[in-house]
């Protein structure tokens, strides 16, 4: 299968993005808004859905593959398998629910653990539901501070108003692209460091 990936050079570059976060923070809503420009009001817990779309990233046509995962706790055990397949992560929480913000630290830990052999992992912290300012529980500064501590970008979005929705996906894709390019350079020098399993702390 690995051989198949490189077989067809004519196909578009594929960036694999994973939506991560507690249940009900709006991962699917963000995805659906980005994919189909629509806001889905009904809440139905996701198990694991995959989306694919052609987009133009800085003048280059690419494909984005979005894996929308389940936030619910009972999927925790199988989450590792999902995380392994991702190249970039949108770590989503709801600004109206402080618990979901606290949970981001655990999700991040899990991502780092699963992708331990990789250097900097493309990741954005996303505070969703910014349209519900009156019910805000997570102060902007607190979230921003955390993101800085982790050395990543913090963006507030609204799946309902589409505010910053495109931005988070495109910014993440850019990070993924940058990482891939630097990896390709590295590969020319030495054989891939991917297979080695080093458990250094990063990010």
């Amino acid at each position: 299968m690995a051989a198949n990936k490189n077989k067809n050079q004519s196909s578009l570059v594929l960036h694999k993005v994973i939506m991560v976060g507690s249940g009900g923070v709006g991962k699917s809503a963000l995805t659906l808004q980005f994919m189909y420009d629509e806001f889905v009001e009904d809440y139905e817990p996701t198990k694991a859905d995959s989306y694919r779309k052609k987009v133009v990233l800085d003048g280059e046509e690419v494909q984005i593959d979005i894996l929308d995962t389940a936030g619910q706790e009972d999927y925790a055990a199988i989450r590792d398998n999902y995380f392994r397949s991702g190249e970039g992560f949108l770590l989503v929480f709801s600004i109206t629910e402080h618990e979901s913000f606290t949970a981001t630290a655990e999700f991040r830990e899990q991502i780092l653990r699963v992708k331990a052999e990789e250097d900097k992992i493309p990741l954005l912290v996303v505070g969703n539901k910014s349209d519900l300012e009156d019910r805000r529980q997570v102060p902007m500064d607190e979230a921003r501070g955390k993101a800085e501590e982790w050395g990543v970008q913090y963006v507030e979005t609204s799946a309902k108003t589409r505010a910053n929705v495109d931005k988070v996906f495109f910014d993440l894709m850019r990070e993924v692209r940058t990482k891939k390019m630097s990896e390709n350079k590295d590969k020319n020098g030495k054989k891939s460091g991917k297979s080695k399993k080093g458990f250094k702390q990063r990010c």
Binding site: M1, A2, N4, K5, K7, N8, S10, S11, L12, L14, M35, E44, P45, K47, A48, D49, S50, Y51, R52, K53, L67, Q72, E73, D74, A77, I78, N81, Y82, R84, S85
Partner: protein
């Protein structure tokens, strides 16, 4: 032209005929020809005929070719149909499998439960066999079967696509086992045969639903680091099935592993397990209806069961189980319920084991059948009536055997037999009553009891025979013993159990042997007496002794003995005949005590043999005796034998048996000729 056409026709017929010989034809032609013009013409005719033949040949070939193509088309069409058919069959097979799977889970009926707990191995074996036949179709994966307990959950055709560019890669057939997913590619030119492609452990893979986005349709993704594969199902319904079944299987696997861990550490308190796992309850997407398992007694149920079992409070344990079953009866079989059930089932197994141990024959022999009632009734309530019945009867058999063994063998056989019968038939009666009480609801078990009774009776007869027949007791003792046994046996009929026939069947061989050996004794004694025959009247010395003999004869049924007695102390019959009469009548009386229809022929033959000895003796003596006085005395003896003794024997036999003995009458009548006309028989000998 007509002439030309005719000659062409003739030529053709000539060439077509079977006897056509080219050489002769050419010879004839050259003989007849009168110039080359004639030959030229002939050549032309042949040429045109050849052209015509070639044409028709071409037409035929073309026609055949068309037919050939049509046939080929038909064949390929048929092939397609067969393929479809086989596909439908496999599909239906998988449906049947999933149905049985579902039934195994949902069927809460008593029978199914009992079957599952009683024969869990068999059910599993069936699953494994299923897997075997399916995997025979896949090359290179025989080692899959080496994992015990592995079985097929689901399988179907899928199409694999390239993850990056969505290009079609290949057609595959996926087999989902309870712990892994096998992907096999189809082998070209061999339908229904697949080749091993990859095997994925269920723990290592994640399933992703691929959202519809043309050209992607009915697809799902399997992630297994570092690669992933995309498969397309035939339609949306099948894809949904795959997604659901994959997830369910993954969950079941995780659950099983958790359970196994639990089993290895049973001392840990199990109570918090149910409430401490709120996520399963929250899993609303999966369980449409939630069942409230947070009630106190349900939460504490597994532990309470443990306590009850440990305290040997079996009734309490079964009460709890009944309560749970009635509570869950109309509830859906959701995930937490299944989990609870598997926990409870584990304890049911424990409880069954303990009860089975309680009933094992080397444990609770004392106390009679009632001692086992507790364990038996609880087992019956657990739905294990078959097992309970089997164990109860085994236990009772052991108890009866021990009781028989413990009986002291008395010097007097009759005393021992009295005791033996008492012990055996009392315990049989008790067992029967207990059985009726314990298994009142389970009529199916009654036949088992009958079979058991037969075995127990066999045990009894063994002990009986050893004492009565092997020690060569006298026939009267044997008769007495058998009578005692028969009487006891009849008492069983008060509970509707009649074992008399079985008793007879078991005894008949020994009784036959006893009769025959006693017959031999009688014959030997008679012969011995006959050898010393003097043909003299008996002198009994005193009238008292004669009176006694008269009494004896009357008891034997000979009422006109007085005709044969003289004055004072004389008897006008030989000693041998008198002794013979007494012995034979005694034998007959005892034998009639033993009598049952199976013994009819044996008894009859014995009697005939005995009587023949006496008859021959009298007849022989009569023929050989020359003295007329003695001859007259012998005649008198003979008439006593024939007219009294034999008649009485026949009468007694008829009375005792209930039907006349024709053979005995014939014996008497055939001999009469000899007696009436003794002179004529000299030539016979």
């Amino acid at each position: 032209m007509a002439e030309g056409g005719g000659s062409v026709q003739r030529l053709r017929r000539q060439l077509e005929s079977n006897s056509f010989q080219a050489e002769q034809y050419v010879k004839l032609l050259s003989q007849q020809s009168d110039g080359d013009r004639d030959l030229q013409e002939h050549r032309q005719r042949i040429q045109s005929l050849a052209d015509e033949t070639a044409q028709s040949l071409k037409r035929n070939v073309y026609q055949n070719y068309r037919q050939f193509i049509e046939t080929a088309k038909e064949i390929s069409y048929l092939e397609g149909e067969m393929y479809q058919l086989s596909h439908i069959l496999t599909e239906q097979k998988s449906i049947m499998e999933s149905v049985t799977q579902a039934l195994l889970y949902t069927d809460r009926s008593e029978a199914a439960r009992e079957l599952q707990t009683a024969f869990p191995k068999e059910a599993e074996e069936g699953k494994v066999r299923n897997l075997t036949t399916l995997l025979e179709k896949v090359e290179g994966c025989k080692n899959l079967l080496e994992t015990p307990g592995r079985y097929l959950v689901y399988n179907g055709d899928l199409t694999e696509f390239d993850v990056d560019n969505m290009a079609l890669i290949q057609k595959v057939h996926a087999f989902l086992m309870n712990d892994c997913l096998l992907i096999a590619t189809s082998v070209p030119n061999r339908r229904g045969i697949y080749k091993y492609n990859a095997l994925h452990n269920l723990d290592d893979l994640a399933v992703v639903n691929v959202k519809e986005n043309p050209p992607m349709k009915d697809m799902f993704k399997i992630l297994m680091f570092p690669e992933s594969r995309i498969f397309q199902a035939e339609n949306a319904k099948i894809k949904k099935e795959w997604l659901e079944i994959l997830e369910q299987t993954k969950k079941n696997k995780a659950l099983n592993e958790k359970q196994k861990q639990e089993e290895t550490t049973p001392q840990l308190p199990v109570v918090p397990e149910i409430p401490a796992n709120p996520f399963i309850d929250e899993d609303g997407t999966f369980d449409e209806v939630e069942v409230d398992l947070t009630i106190d007694w349900i939460q504490e149920l597994p532990e309470d069961l443990d306590v009850c079992i440990a305290q040997r409070n079996f009734e309490g344990a079964v009460d709890l189980l009944d309560k749970l079953n009635s509570y869950l009866e109309d509830k859906p079989l959701t995930h937490p319920v299944k989990e609870l059930k598997s926990k409870v089932d584990e304890r049911v197994r424990q409880l069954t084991d303990v009860l089975v141990f309680e009933l094992s024959p080397d444990r609770s022999l004392r106390g009679g059948p009632k001692a086992t009632r507790r364990a038996v009734s609880q087992l019956v309530r657990l739905g294990q009536s078959t097992k309970a019945c089997e164990l109860f009867l085994k236990n009772q058999a052991a108890a009866v055997q021990t009781a028989i063994r413990q009986l002291r063998i008395e010097g007097a056989t009759l005393l021992y037999i009295h005791k033996l019968c008492n012990v055996f038939f009392t315990s049989l009666l008790e067992t029967a009553k207990e059985f009726e009480m314990d298994f009142a609801e389970n009529h199916g078990c009654y036949s088992a009891f009958i079979v058991w009774s037969r075995l127990a009776l066999k045990m009894f007869v063994d002990a009986f025979s050893k004492q009565v027949f092997d020690s060569k007791e006298s026939l009267s003792t044997v008769a007495e013993c058998v009578k005692v046994a028969k009487e006891h046996c009849k008492q069983l009929s008060e509970i509707g159990l009649d074992l008399t026939f079985i008793l007879h069947t078991l005894l008949v061989k020994d009784i036959k042997a006893a009769l025959q050996s006693y017959k031999d004794i009688v014959i030997e004694a008679t012969k011995h007496r006959n050898s010393e025959e003097m043909w003299r009247r008996m002198n009994l010395m005193t009238p008292e002794v004669l009176g006694k003999l008269r009494e004896e004869m009357r008891n034997c049924g000979i009422n006109n003995f007085d005709q044969y007695t003289g004055d004072d102390c004389w008897v006008n019959i030989s000693y041998t005949i008198v002794a013979f009469t007494k012995q034979t009548m005694a034998f007959l009386e005892e034998a009639l005590k033993l009598y049952f229809p199976e013994l009819h022929m044996v008894l009859l033959e014995c009697l005939m043999e005995i009587i023949l000895v006496a008859i021959q003796h009298v007849d022989y003596s009569l023929r050989c005796e020359q003295e007329s006085e003695k001859k007259a005395f012998i005649r008198q003896n003979a008439s006593f034998l024939y007219e009294n003794v034999l008649v009485v024997v026949e009468k007694r036999f008829e009375e005792g048996v209930g039907k006349p003995a024709k053979q005995l009458q014939e014996l008497r009548n055939s001999s009469r000729l000899v007696r009436v006309n003794p002179e004529s028989t000299t030539s016979v000998v």
